[in-house]
Symmetry: none
Subunit: 216 residues, 4 copies
DNA sequence: AATGAATGAGGCTTCATTCAT
DNA sequence: CATGAATGAAGCCTCATTCAT
């Protein structure tokens, strides 16, 4: 699942254990961060939930900030990969957009705790000071935005999307998607996934809330 | 104690001064909260910006949490009033929705700092633990949601909106609106208001991103 | 006694209290630092000895390092002044040197705790990393060294001192003085001052340990 | 237990390796201690510099304090031996003192890192709390002091030294020597040894800084 | 009402020491 | 013997809150 980036070297038992412990800590961190938010999360709680001592956390992460950052980075890796696949799988721009929409919903259901965290702390975007500090993460997100914008532009040229400013299309897309996800995160955390509802949300993005279509 | 909403009694000079001081403190709090977020904002900074001593803050607000809450409540008062007007001003459900959309944009431009704060700390909704504690605020928000839902339902019955679950309509509406506002808050805080863009956003909500409308 | 540098403004009661508290804290810090050394001294101990809470220390000093530094600076002010007087009071270079010698002994007896601290932490010189960081202090010490060297040079030209490298004269002078002081700090901290002994030490510096003088 | 001074038994390879490892650790400890001082030196740094794991350090030394102590003891052994030789090599008290003086300079040049450590942490004497705890070391130093005192007394009786309190002679001797060494440790750590300067320093101790000798 | 110095609980972080492999 | 991951006590520092003036 979590293939270590790429170069597969035969890891020693020690190294494998170490990697596992790191994962456990990230898991615990995610859980605590998403419960209380970054500021209120206590390193001791994270340690406890990971079933390690506080000091051990610091063997893996230099500081609370770093821990948070690495958590985001790790998750971002996963997401990026799946989103790239989703984009490539679509033929037309509309298909690509549709794939992105549903892949992000998939990701939400697979990483609920993480999304709650994202929503809480980042309000979905990466424009928070804590995160802007990280070149890597910011650049990566920028890249994603540009990709999306390019897709929308292509879609406009192809006559699939209306001739509105791409960043507006993008804003609407993100808004519909994020707000839906955010709501899912709150209201009844145990509610099951509802494909019809998801389809409705995409419909709302693609064809709007009104019946009588305005020609343009 | 601090009645300042409607019942008009002739306020003494003392009372008027007191009310003014309270306003100055709330203003300062908003400014500091929106700059650093709730956790990192320091009471001393707020006091300094309000040009009062820390102790004085505590004469008006029992705690940092309370200060935050009252700030939200005060602003909520203003917003509620203007939104109620907007709703009443619209004849049809669609008109009402349209009015709400643009009134909220008006409010955003009139209360930018507050919106930044809302976006930062509340991710736009009021589902944060800190706020859920407050009966008043939560109830008020609930009431607004119900109103909106009722409008959407009416719109569906009237054939103005598509027959999708009202909460989906609502989610799309909120998403498009909030995400647009959130973006405005980040990217270039000095950029001027752009009516065309706003119209585009509403168009996207009402008629979607795609050219070829699906009949339903 | 502790005239606030120079410009005398009428201090308010608040300000006078504040200054007094600062002094108390410095006093306590000196005491604790000189007992345990910088590293082992705990801010809590200092606070306790000053009869304040820890937090209060930090209203006056930004950090443990700063506290230490300001302590040194404050004392250095006093010493500098008295040494300058001593130097100016001497007519010939030898007299100046003699005055410095005994003034430093006076200072030792007036500020025993501080000297213990100096000896412990600084080995008498200011070449410790913690202190080299401070421009002010280092520069000030440098100035003193140059002054001394100039005096020795003058003394050599005047035929009062032997024609040895001034820095050697200086090293011998400092060595005899410091080591004597260091010893006093250890052995029986309650032993009274002994003028005869002090005279003997100066004699040893000026005319050496041997009876038969070598001509040079 | 760890007899390694004189009684020669044929050591097994194991024992020889062990002894070598111990030496490497002491070497590393000296290096790290002299760089950062005792408190700031970290066991992990020492281990790393010795190219062993932390745990291994603890097989050889019960604690950081012990490690420090044994380091001092080991070095003290060497110094003691050479100083004894120096003392015995001198015929007259003055010769003995002279030998001690220059032997200690030899030792300084042979064990610079150690002297830096001594100067930093011990201010040259052994009156530091950390060390006073050690009977052995303190007693040994005491013995050296007594020896020196006896030499000075003998010198006084022999008419080689002036009739001043022996502890004053001793204080001047130690002061001149130590301060010179301390200076060498700071100023330009790469400066070469300067015999003329050394001779000047001894001259200063023996015949003083002033030209005109006071008869006594 | 206003002030702001004082308080002290609580969080982050470090590092000597242990122990299972 | 060697290893180095794990431990957790302890120190520095922050800041919401109080209270005497």
């Amino acid at each position: 699942m979590h293939s270590n980036t790429s170069k597969s070297k035969p890891l020693s038992r020690r190294e494998r254990e170490s990697a596992r412990h790191r994962q456990e800590m990230l898991e615990a961190a995610q859980s605590v961060f998403s419960e209380h938010g970054f500021e209120k999360a206590r390193m001791e709680d994270i340690a406890q939930r990971a079933e390690f001592a506080v000091g051990t956390l610091y063997r893996f992460f230099a500081s609370k900030d770093q821990l948070y950052l690495e958590l985001l980075r790790d998750k971002a890796d996963v997401m990026e990969e799946r989103l790239d696949e989703a984009i490539n799988a679509g033929k037309t721009p509309l298909e690509k957009v549709r794939n992105i929409f549903f892949t992000r919903l998939d990701l939400f259901w697979d990483h609920k705790a993480f999304f709650r965290l994202m929503v809480q702390e980042t309000e979905g975007s990466l424009h928070k000071p804590r995160l802007c500090g990280d070149e890597n993460l910011a650049a990566r997100y920028e890249r994603f935005l540009e990709q999306l914008e390019a897709i929308f532009e292509a879609g406009i040229r192809a006559g699939e999307f209306r001739a509105l400013p791409p960043h507006c299309l993008f804003a609407a897309f993100e808004g519909v998607l994020r707000n839906y996800v955010a709501r899912l995160g709150y209201l009844d955390p145990d509610a099951p996934r509802d494909p019809a509802e998801e389809e409705a949300m995409f419909e709302l993005f693609s064809h709007g809330a009104c019946l009588a279509p305005k020609s343009q």
